[in-house]
Structure formats: C-alpha cells, structure tokens
C-alpha cells in the first residue's frame, strides 16, 4: 500500500506513514487540497513554517494508462493567499507512484540559510547539503543532478527566483530529455520551496517493481481503448501533435478574443507571426522536434523542442499561453525572442504566464516601450539577479502594477489572467473569477464550448449558459487532476461519452473498486468544496471573485463588456 513521505525541512528528518482512511482513496489534486485544508492553517503566512508543500501523483500515475503521468503540487499560495494546486508533467509523478509514495510533504522551515536537496530512492531518503548549487539555473541544475544521480532521474528544482522567494516563482521539472521545460508555474510555489530551503528534489525509481494492478487484464483492455480514443480524436490525435498548443493563436485571434496590448482588443495584427503554424514551420526548417511527450506514456505529445535560426537549442515546451503573454499581450511579434524569454523564465524559475503579463504591465506603466522585445529580454534578465527591478517583476503583475502606478492590472486573486479575453470567451471568464486558484484557464476550460465547438457550442459573447458550463468544467477538471491525467484528454472525453467510463474502468481495475461515473463527478465536487472552504477560512469573500474594473471597458472587435453580477457568479460555486 502506498505511503505518505513527510520531510521536516528544519530538523532534516523524514518519516513514512500510512494514509488515514480519509486520504486512502485520494490522489493528485484531491489529496493535496484535502491535506492543505486539514493541515495548513488558512491564515498562515505562505512563506512561514506553517505552510506545507505537497507533491502528489494522480491516482492513475505510475500505471501504463496513457497520459497519466501528471503531478499535483499543493500549498497555500504566496501569490494569491489562497489554496493552490499547480499541475505539471515531467518524470517525478510516475516515479513517486512506482516507489509507492502517495504524497511527499515538505514541512516546517530551517532557521538558518543552508539549502538542501532531497534524494528519494527505492530504499533511501537523503537530505543532502546543497549550498554548492545556490544561484544555479534550472537548466544547469538538471544537468548537474543527472550527472550526479544518473540520467533520467526525476528532478524538481527551483531557480534563483525561488531562492529569493518571489511570488512569481515556479518549480521546474526535467522533461524526458533533461530540459527544464515543464513547470508547476502558477501561484508562486517555487517561493514556498525556497522558504523551506529545498533547492531540488531527485526521484530515482531504479529497482522499483511495477505497480500491482488489481485486475491487470481489465486494466489493459480499458487502457487500449483509452489510448485509441486519444489517438483517434482529431484534436488530440492530429492538431496538438502537429502544431502544439500554439495552434490556438490563430483561432483565438480569428474569434476576436486574443488579448492584445494588455487586453485592449481581441485581434493582434501580427498573430500569424507567432502562430502554431509558424512555430511548426520554423521547427521543420531549422531542426528541433515538432512533437514530443512531457512524460513517458503520453500519446498526444503536444510538447516540442524549438531552435533558433542557426539551429541552436532555444527552448522546450513552448506553449500557447507563453507565446501569447510575451507576444500579443506585449505587442511582440518576434517568435524567436519570445522563445528566448520562455527559456529565461524556465531557467530563472518564474511562471511564464505571470511574467509575460507582468512585462505587459511594465509596458503599460511606461517602463519599456510596447513591442520592444529586446528591452523586455533585458528586463527579464534582471529577475533573479537581486536587482530591485528584477525583484519587482519577479513578484508578478499585481505587485508590478502597484509599483508602477498602473490601474489596468489583469489579475484575479492577484494571479495574472491567461490568454483568452473574458469578455469574448465568457465561460472562461467565469472560471477566472470563480475558481479557487485565481485567474486560471485550466481550471474550467470554457474555450472548448465557446470557441472550439468541442463538447457542444455555447455563445462566447453572451451570458447565457456560461456560468453552468464553467461550473461543470471546473468539476470535471478537478477529477481529471485527481486521476493524474493530462487535461488535454478532455477534448475526446467531452466529445465521447465512453471516455469518462474508460477512466472509471481503469481506476476500478487498478484499485479493485466499483466506482461509477457519478462517483467521479462527486469527487470533483468534493475537491472544489475543500478548496473553497480553505479560501473562506483564509478570508476570501465575493469581492475576491470579481474581475478588475478594466474589463468594464468595451472590447473590440465584438464590443462586449464583462457584465456578470456577484450573484450570478456565485452560482458557479454552489454545489
């Protein structure tokens, strides 16, 4: 039976424990959020010894289930002040699961400034001095740790931004090639890891047995159908592998919803220059990799390796949200410079959405000119150096907006809005407002029904049905995150009823359960209830579920505004 590994970062002690009956059936986000609610005082300072940082593989992680290698990381967020689950690929999730570790919990914090790394193997847990690694970027950190502990060990690390406990700091994860291209980016969890003086976590599952499945034959049969479902759906089987997530640039622009120049309009004149089509063409021409997985067992493979004009490696996992944040949002049209900024963020260890939006806020505040990619790169290079301006930028959009006297700051619960304007994709706007995470598109991706005609069609410009669809998607997403599945499985699952049943079949075959589809919905609801309860205890009220005033401005080309009342939004949180 899998266990919970607790590490006291002050005493440098560890212990294993059996999960309580309440925690036994939970995994991924269900487990991190339940434990944060139960164990972290909601009013604590997120960087204090009372906060905990919890890494939990999803329920299916470590099995052969396609696209099941996703990891949930939970804590009280230093950025939002509320609960956070940040979800990532990389190698750690499957390896923790194979080592029989249901959750890794970092507790307390050191009283001195000495840093450690944690090394978890089949028969040992070590907490080793890490002062030699201080100031090391995530890219170099992974290279050094692979050299020391073996290629392909799982690595989670923080860069200089996390060491400085900046609220935009991420935790970066080695992808299968050893690039730091996967991130638990949102919500400043890198700062929590920095507060506990943990520079990196190494997970080596060498010698571990395969996970025992309760009914291997039933599992295999369900997984085969599952993988076929993912491969045969045109979005997950063709669109994502061919162009990556950046395929969205053109469609969101065409829909008039691509936030441009800090959410002033929905069309960017140079969208074509930063599109997925251009990205894929550049890779074809220059070298690099058009399609790869962020973890073994991904059959969708939306990730890629992107090279510059001279065929030198620039970045990996180059995603739509990043391209939008440094691109249309900042009026930057040079895709290679955007790739350079993606790499800088991965290396110094900051969230690309938060940081890209912040650069746009800095442009709004007159610090650098709109569209000036070279000035943006220079500003970004200051993050993590200790330079005061770099500290301001590294603390995110809300902090930078305040520092520069800007009134148009696109955040909810202090977290920067992602790449869909809430006035032109209203279902995702409802999600930004009401998810316990702060503005987060992944928490309830209403773009599916509003723009992509996946899982139905709902008018993106009107209010009707958009609260309900956001709520349903938030429930489904919470369950997908608990299962450890990549969110992109939602495209086929929303279109095909058997998808949800196959997930249930795999869970039942793995654990010897007899769950039904309605249990999965109940699981999603219970996760959200836990998260809303934590935020309530932390002091959040209806005013924290509002979008900023700037979204009352009329938004071209469709000339819509944000027009939901508090009462209407509350329905997305009423279960």
């Amino acid at each position: 039976m899998s266990r919970i590994l607790r590490i006291n970062t002050r005493e440098k002690r560890y212990s294993f424990e059996s999960p309580s009956p309440e925690l036994q059936a939970l995994g991924g986000r269900a487990l991190t959020s339940k434990m944060i609610l139960n164990e972290v005082p909601a009013t604590c300072h997120p960087l204090s010894q009372f906060n905990k940082l919890i890494f939990a593989p999803g329920l299916l992680s470590g099995t052969p289930a396609a696209n099941s290698g996703r990891l949930s990381i939970g804590a009280k967020s230093p950025l939002t002040g509320g609960i956070k689950e940040s979800n990532t690929g990389g190698l750690v999730s499957q390896k923790l699961a194979r080592l029989g570790i249901k959750a890794l919990v970092l507790e307390d914090k050191p009283i001195d400034d000495a840093y450690s790394i944690i090394v978890i193997k089949k028969d040992s847990v070590e907490i080793l001095p890490a002062d030699d690694y201080l100031g090391t970027t995530n890219g170099d950190m992974i290279a050094k740790l692979w050299e020391r502990f073996g290629k392909r060990v799982g690595v989670a690390s923080i860069g200089p931004a996390g060491e400085q406990r900046l609220t935009g700091a991420s935790i970066q994860f080695a992808d299968p090639k050893g690039h730091p291209g996967r991130a638990a980016g949102r919500g400043g969890l890198g700062a929590v890891m920095g507060s506990k003086k943990i520079k990196a976590i190494v997970v080596d599952d060498g010698g571990a047995d395969k996970l025992t499945l309760h009914d291997p034959d039933a599992f295999k049969a369900a997984n085969q159908k599952w993988a076929d479902l993912l491969r045969n759906h045109p979005v997950s089987g063709q669109g994502l592998p061919a162009y990556g997530t950046a395929v969205l640039v053109n469609v969101i622009n065409e829909a008039g919803a691509l936030p441009t120049q800090n959410f002033r309009s929905g069309r960017f004149e140079f969208a074509g220059d930063i599109s997925g089509e251009t990205l894929a063409a550049n890779i074809e021409q220059r070298g690099g990799i058009v399609s790869e997985g962020c973890h073994p067992g991904c059959v969708i493979r939306c990730s890629q390796v992107y090279h510059d004009k001279d065929n030198n490696y620039l970045t990996s996992g180059f995603e739509y949200e990043t391209i939008w944040a440094f691109g249309a949002h900042c009026m930057i049209k040079d895709l290679d410079d955007i790739a350079r900024m993606d790499r800088l963020c991965d290396d110094v260890g900051v969230d690309t959405i938060e940081t890209g939006v912040t650069i746009g806020v800095a442009m709004e505040g007159g610090l650098i000119p709109w569209g000036d990619s070279k000035a943006a790169i220079e500003l970004l290079k200051k993050v993590g150096t200790g330079d005061p301006m770099g500290k301001i930028i590294g603390n995110g959009a809300a902090f930078t907006g305040q520092a520069l006297g800007v009134d148009r700051v696109p955040v909810v619960k202090k977290q920067a809005l992602p790449a869909y304007d809430p006035r032109a994709v209203k279902a995702v706007g409802v999600t930004y407002a009401t998810t316990p995470m702060g503005a987060d598109h992944t928490a309830g991706y209403g773009v599916c029904q509003n723009i992509l005609n996946v899982g139905g069609t709902i008018d993106p410009l009107k209010k009707e049905h958009n609260v309900e669809i956001s709520k349903d998607l938030q429930i489904a997403t919470a369950a997908i995150d608990a299962a450890g599945l990549c969110l992109f499985v939602a495209f086929p699952v929303l279109d095909h009823a058997e998808g949800l049943q196959l997930i249930v079949d795999m869970l039942n075959a793995q654990y010897g359960l007899s769950l039904g589809a309605s249990d999965v919905v109940q699981l999603g609801i219970s996760i959200l209830k836990d998260e809303h309860e934590f935020n309530r205890l932390a002091g959040f009220t209806a005013k924290d579920d509002r979008l900023p005033d700037m979204f009352k401005e009329v938004f071209p080309p469709h000339n819509t505004t944000w027009d939901f009342t508090d009462d209407e939004l509350m329905k997305a949180k009423t279960f």
Partner: protein
C-alpha cells in the same frame, strides 16, 4: 464581391488556389454562402470544423456579403 478568407492549420494547403490572392482575398459573384466559397476553392467541406464569419461562429450555409472576413479551421484545441 470581395471576401477576406483565411485558411489555417491543416487547411493552409488549400490557400494555393488561384482564386485566392496572396493577401487572402477571394472575388466571387454574389450571392454566396460559406460552403460555396469552400467549394470554389476545392476545400473539402468535411475537413472544415470551425467557421468564423467576422469573428462569430457561422454554419456552412450562412450567407456571406461583400467585405466579410471568413476563417476556416480543422478540428483544433490546446490550452
């Protein structure tokens, strides 16, 4: 009449049609529907999943007028 037409992702290959100018304009006798534009350019209707007419979802039989902006996409997603 002149219609601004954009074809994206796997449909981009159909942009090479002589009726479509380099800057993405197609001239057709009116009246015309979205589907008739696709037919004129030899874009198989079954490959088109998303149709935007001036940034709003349209259907294959929606009428198009002079000066409209039309966008065709295959099934796509991301996030």
């Amino acid at each position: 009449m002149r219609v601004e037409l954009k074809v994206f992702a796997s449909l981009a290959k159909y942009a090479a049609h002589p009726l479509l100018s380099a800057d993405g304009v197609v001239e057709l006798p009116s009246p015309v529907s979205v589907g008739q534009i696709a037919d004129a350019l030899n874009i198989p209707r079954k490959e088109i999943k998303l149709i935007f007419l001036n940034g709003i979802h349209a259907q294959i039989d929606t009428a198009v007028k002079d000066g409209d902006r039309v966008g065709f996409f295959p099934p796509i997603g991301g996030g």
